[in-house]
Amino acid sequence: MTFLNLVIYGIANGTLYAAVALALVLIWRSTRIVNFAQGGMLMITTFIAWDLVVKHGANYWVGLVVAVLAGFVLGAVTERLLVRPVENGPPLNPVIVTLGLLLLLQAVAGMIWGNGLDSFAPQFSLHYYNVGDQVILFSPDYLFIVIAVLVVLGALYLLFQRSPLGLRMRASAFNPEVARLLGVRVGRMLTLGWGLAAMVGALAGVLIAGTQPDYMNPNAFDPLLIFGFTAAIIGGLDSPVGAVAGGVTVGVVQQLLDNYVSNDIDAFYVFMILLIVLMVRPNGLFSRTAVRRV
């Protein structure tokens, strides 16, 4: 029973990592850039929601929607102002720019909201379900989390695979020059892609902040970025489905190690998982193609 419970809890947590991984994959696919600022972006948007809901008494759903919209704006503005100028330069430059943005966003959050610990209570109960006299490590809040992430996945699938806009975005990502010749405004598609990705990240931020008391701190979201990145790498960076599989994998492995080894060193596990995966498959477990050499 313990094992099963750990797997359930791991999967539930893993959907959050999957959402962050998805945000990273969406951007990687369209611009071949890993957005290290994602952790900072979702932290800021979560603080905005927290400020509205907890400090100003707004409705939880209003806070959630505002956070997600703020995520879109933040992502789109970042692409336009900061990423566009370094997009075609050496690959090191966007890495440094997004890391700089991460530091800046964390500093700004600290300046506005301080570096203390605050709680952001979730909309649904954190009390575990009981089946008979057995406790299941799954709560209404986690049910909401899993459903929310699945809904986002479904919406993204429909957008990318079934809509003309999604077709334009995919064409821009895969072959920008041909897309432009076919009349697609590639620059606009990239901005939109960053906005969408940051929306997914923003949702994950608000959802994870509710899972633990005292979560709200500018640095508390760093592990989420690292876990999400690991999930994305396991998934091969290129595949949304791989990102979800990677997220769930990381979530479950983390719970098992926490329980059977020690729960003090999550960050070290992630490093080891990443190291092992990259030793075995330098381009990720689920990747189909090698990294393109230009």
């Binding site: 700089g100 800046l104 060193i265 190291l275 030793m279």
Partner: protein, 348 residues
Amino acid sequence: MRLVDRASWQRVPMVLRHGVPAVAGLGIMLLVSQGLSEYRNTQLATIAMYVCAVAGLTILTGLSGQISLGNGAFMFVGAYTVALLLEHHVTTSNGVLALFLVVAVLVAAFAGALVGVAAARLRGPYLAGITLALAVGLPVLPKYSHLQSSLGGHAGISVNAPAPPGDMNYFRWQAWLCLIAAAITLFLLANLSSSRVGRAFRAVRDDEIAASLAGLPVARVQVLAFVVSAACAGLAGGLFGILSLTVLPDLFSLTLSLALLAAAVFGGLGTLSGAVYGSVIITLLPFWSSDLARALSLPDKVQHNLPQAVYGVGLILGMLLFPLGIHGLVRRVGQLGRNTLRTKPANN
């Protein structure tokens, strides 16, 4: 006139060419430290400590083209090595302390080799990601329940460094220790950079395929660059531990690793003089920003976060506006000055 100078300068053996400035620079800085207050000597020590780490990182990223967001983790390795050695072998000898620092360098280099072997196969975002995970993942190890007794857990371990020799002032002794270490590091790295190994680093950075066709063992060269930068970070970590008096996991945050990168970028990637400029900036920035915040009477939380905000803005603007960093700026100003000097006689 200049050309002749440069040519004859280049005939001087490399060891002398880099050794003379290193010794002269060290001598000047040691003299300077005599006239400084205890407070300023601590700052000087901190700058010199950072120079060791940033110089290693700038060689790795600027010369061999690999990025590392994880050199704070190698500082962690060096710091804990020195702290543990001092805990188990209490010493009053500065010679033994120097030996312990060498051990810290070796242990960090070994850790660098382990990571480097994995890293050499990785490119761009993968490499950035694994080193980021290293920066966050390694320094939590002391919190592991089975290691808590030996590594001190959250509270860390105190660093029982020996007393200064003779009646030397404690803070000046710290500054001297770090300055000597920085001078040795810069001297060795300058030689490395202009040696065959340095050329191999550049060749691999510029075009891996061409380098391997020219017979360079690309993977070995990349691992070597990683080992060099880890060794430098290990030395800096050992000094960091001595300066901090206690080593604890939270000292080696992701922000430390990113501050090292920021320093290398600010100074100008790949240049040792840039590593010095960058180290000065990241050391003094917190002091400047708290002075500024006090002058403007900004709230505490603003003051507390100001240095990090400047790192962030600096990294972004550095990449967007001055990709060559301060080193590039200084050189451009220097060239401008020389050009005006040179054109003046022609105009007359």
